[in-house]
């Protein structure tokens, strides 16, 4: 009997598209050993600060190898509550309004699983982080895209939100500053978005993982706006600002009833986040702020460098207010984003990610991550200039 294992894969999983990032990763992987400068990563180039790593090692030496409370260690939840209070001006009770998760990714999954009935509609702005759409599909909910545009520097506007809204929409996912565009919202826009959420009774899942990496002005969480704390789940973590991607540690804060619902799913599927990562996260919150500021200031200078160079060489690029991504347009060259990315990789050995990997509005753009040393960025920009000049001639 011919047994095709495919028939065992669930329909909604089989229907998930392959990540565009994955395709490109495989292409880059083929060029191993060829002096490729990668601007294709989505993580800091800094290693986790030593005091954080050392705290984790010490935790292991003391035999901290057991489960923690499902919600996460109470000391860590207290530190999270204090940190979110001080840096975002939102008050959450450590006892029942904070849940420690395995990165923001798990927090998003938990929220969607805990809150969505099959067929519920979830809005998200695109281009966006690659996992939003699949996460919605995995809970049998329906994704409703809200486009953002280059002319607005990829800021989400209340107008596009209203235009995309349809009956049955229950949740709005926000990612500000945004991966891959670096887009943020002005306070005025954010207030309009909040007003719209109240009007349509939307719950907000606010993924603020890049908030510490805001270079111009201050970051405002939508949860601080009037009437929003009770309809917002604030999602945050340590990966970007504290350079802790591989630790997989994050958290969700919100109304106790919603956190409790998420905790139910978490306790049966994950039990708890790794205790070593929790110990490291605690150390990061207690003593890591200086390192965050140092890294942020470097990203700021790197942003200014790449944005200036991209515009100089003819790749129109807005200056992202936050995150460590530039999202230049390659349209002036008459190339598609994939032709540009593949050509640049093959001819000049610089990897950037085609914008369409993040959504249809990324057409004509590429994502270039500037979490790389000055020296590498300078060389990468020089190589891109050569590629652009060559492409113009042909």
């Amino acid at each position: 009997m011919n047994v095709d294992p495919k028939r065992w894969v669930a329909r909604h999983v089989a229907a998930l598209p392959k990540s565009g990032i994955r395709d490109f990763f495989e292409l880059v992987a083929k060029m191993k050993g060829q002096d490729v400068i990668s601007l294709g990563v989505g993580e800091p180039d800094f290693v986790t600060p030593w005091h954080v790593r050392e705290a984790a090692i010490y935790a292991l030496e003391r035999g901290k190898t057991y489960y923690t409370s499902n919600l996460g260690m109470i000391e860590l939840r207290r530190a999270i509550s204090t940190y979110v209070g001080e840096h975002f001006n939102i008050g959450y009770r450590p006892e029942d309004q904070v849940l420690v998760t395995v990165g923001v990714s798990e927090a998003i999954d938990l929220a969607l699983r805990a809150l969505c009935n099959p067929g519920d509609k979830v809005m998200y702005h695109q281009p966006c982080y690659v996992s939003y759409h699949p996460s919605i599909s995995l809970v049998h909910a329906e994704a409703v895209e809200v486009p953002t545009y280059a002319k607005d520097n990829f800021s989400l506007t209340a107008e596009s939100l209203r235009a995309a809204w349809q009956p049955g929409c229950k949740i709005l996912m926000l990612n500000l500053p945004c991966n891959p565009t670096g887009g943020t919202c002005s306070l005025e826009q954010l207030e309009k978005i909040a007003e719209f959420c109240r009007e349509k009774d939307l719950l907000v899942l606010s993924d603020e993982i890049y908030s510490e990496l805001t270079f111009d002005g201050v970051h405002t969480s939508i949860a601080t706006l009037p009437g929003m704390a009770e309809r917002t789940i604030f999602l945050h973590g340590f990966s970007k600002a504290f350079a802790m991607t591989g630790w997989r540690i994050g958290y969700a804060c919100g109304p106790a009833v919603l956190i409790d619902a998420m905790m139910k799913v978490h306790q049966y599927t994950m039990l708890c986040a790794s205790i070593v990562a929790q110990e490291a996260a605690l150390e990061a919150l207690l003593r890591g702020w200086d390192s965050v500021c140092k890294m942020r200031d470097q990203y700021h200078r790197r942003r200014d460098l790449v944005v200036r160079r991209f515009n100089e060489i003819g790749l129109t690029c807005h200056s992202p207010r936050g995150s460590f991504y530039a999202f230049p347009s390659v349209k002036p060259l008459g190339l598609t984003e994939s032709e540009f990315a593949v050509g640049l990789l093959e001819k000049e050995k610089v990897a950037v990610v085609p914008g369409t990997a993040f959504g249809v509005n990324g057409t004509g753009h590429v994502r270039a991550c500037f979490a790389t040393s000055y020296e590498q960025l300078i060389t990468a920009c020089d190589r891109m200039e050569r590629f652009v000049n060559q492409a113009r001639k042909t």
């Binding site: 990763f25 993580e43 290693v47 991966n179 200078r301």
Partner: protein
């Protein structure tokens, strides 16, 4: 703040051409900023950071840290004697300290005898020096912000990630 000073504070590993790129100015402008910082006595100069335990760098292989107790002078405090000390070529750094002694002095030399000779014949015989306590350095683990053994596993990031 001076943009070039910002880059120097980050560790100063960039060339002036690279600094110019990062700060978005010409090389001449970077040099002007450096000149200004020198004039203002903020930027004192460049120095290489070497692993002095390597044979090739053995010219300054013997290093000692010396705690010096001195008598402060009326009118001059510790400064007159400290600046007198600091002028010796053998002395690499010299600091006024709080605590059990007054000055902490870092001395470099080509041999143990030379460093010992400098301490016993020059340093401790100066007027105002009450006592010295010399500690020879045995091994460096970190030098000027650089780890001697590069055991960091950097460069292990995947090339493309979401």
């Amino acid at each position: 703040m001076n943009p070039v000073l910002n880059l120097l504070l980050e560790g100063g590993s960039l060339t002036t051409a690279q600094m110019a790129q990062v700060a978005g100015m010409s090389v001449a402008e970077v040099e002007q900023h450096l000149e200004q910082l020198k004039k203002d006595n903020i930027f004192l100069g460049w120095r290489p950071v070497l692993d002095l335990s390597r044979e090739a760098a053995a010219a300054a292989a013997v290093r000692a840290v010396i705690e010096v107790r001195v008598t402060p002078e009326r009118g001059g405090g510790f400064s007159r004697l400290a600046s007198r000390l600091a002028k010796f070529d053998e002395i690499e750094s010299c600091y006024l300290m709080s605590g059990a002694y007054d000055l902490l002095v870092f001395v470099n030399g080509t041999s143990l005898q030379k460093v010992a000779g400098f301490v016993s014949e020059k340093l401790s015989t100066l007027d105002g020096v009450l006592s010295t306590s010399t500690h020879f350095m045995l091994r460096a683990y970190k030098e000027g912000g650089f780890l001697i053994e590069q055991n960091e596993t950097e460069g292990h990031r995947l090339t493309v990630t979401p």
